[in-house]
Symmetry: C2
DNA sequence: ATCATAGTTTGGAATGGTTCTAAATAGCAC
DNA sequence: GTGCTATTTAGAACCATTCCAAACTATGAT
């Protein structure tokens, strides 16, 4: 997708380097691999799961570094941290406004895109005096076969 | 159930006894006091805060019991557990469909009532195949003076 | 009343995700 | 290269919560 003559279109890794630089931070192998891992399999992994995936590329990485880098990516606004109840924090590189659907059976988390019109209506329930900087919407329930199929077909079947 | 002339109106403590009985559980002093504490000051206290408030009435209560009773109340559907990020779980006896507004400055949590029409529109963003049993909406931001006034005036000034 | 049984409370230990710490390492400016 | 700072690392510490096993309590059947 999106090649050549691109004006200032951001290749994923450049976006990372750029955002880090903007915050006065350095681009490091750990940060790059961790961000790549999040982009490659967008299943809202936990820090432990990221740790496991990163290890295969950087066998000596530490769990502390995974936490550090994830926090860095979140503070650079390249990744969102997502929490369900008191479970481990999950990480999501989808920056578009979206809600999360937590499938209680499978434990899987799905992104639900939110139309701007709906976001407006949601914000409109706030009485005067409430100034919200963000809103988070979490569905809980079960996703049936047709939604699994959607998810499966929209993502390469993984080697 | 529903005794004679009563329109079936439930005194708080009866509601508790009833719900517990429905679940085959006993009404105990600890459960009653903890539920009362939640009803009396509806500021979404943590288990520790509930513990402190209950101690003045039941000086020998244990923190484990507070956790046990809160879990019992949640499983009886008399209380909702509310989580913000990875902070300690907070407890809310407001059973009407409502969102939460987390004031980042003061740390206070406010209930935002949700009209059924909005809830419908929110559920409508779910694609086919997603069957949600619940939805949770959390705002984050700051509440200005006018909302503090509203909250203050709607609740007795506390002895 | 007494007893048997199951439910509940309690203090303390264990858990588990996350954060902290201090030392080692790596990148950048001069 | 030298010095300076950012980053990574292993392991300890943290802390909300859960687990455990022993006391205690309510219930209801004899
Ligand atoms: Mn789950
Ligand atoms: Mn806060
Ligand atoms: Zn997401
Ligand atoms: Zn509430």
């Amino acid at each position: 997708m999106s090649t050549a003559t691109l004006p200032s279109a951001t290749l994923p890794s450049d976006a990372l380097a750029q955002r880090l630089a903007d915050s006065g931070l350095r681009s490091t192998p750990q940060r790059e691999v961790i961000y790549d891992v999040l982009l490659k399999k967008r299943d809202h992994p936990t820090a432990d799961e990221v740790f496991a995936r990163v290890k295969s590329e950087l066998p000596t990485v530490s769990l502390a570094t995974v936490y550090n880098c994830l926090e860095t990516l979140v503070s650079c606004q390249l990744v969102r941290a997502v929490n369900f109840e008191r479970g481990p924090t999950r990480y999501c590189p989808n920056l578009s406004p979206h809600a999360h659907f937590h499938d209680e059976q499978s434990g899987q988390t799905h992104d639900i895109e939110l139309p701007p019109a709906l976001l407006k209506k949601v914000h409109a329930v706030l009485p005067r005096g409430y100034d919200a900087t963000s809103v988070e919407i979490i569905f809980r329930g079960k996703a049936t076969r047709s939604s699994e199929q959607r998810a499966a077909s929209s993502q390469p079947t993984r080697s």
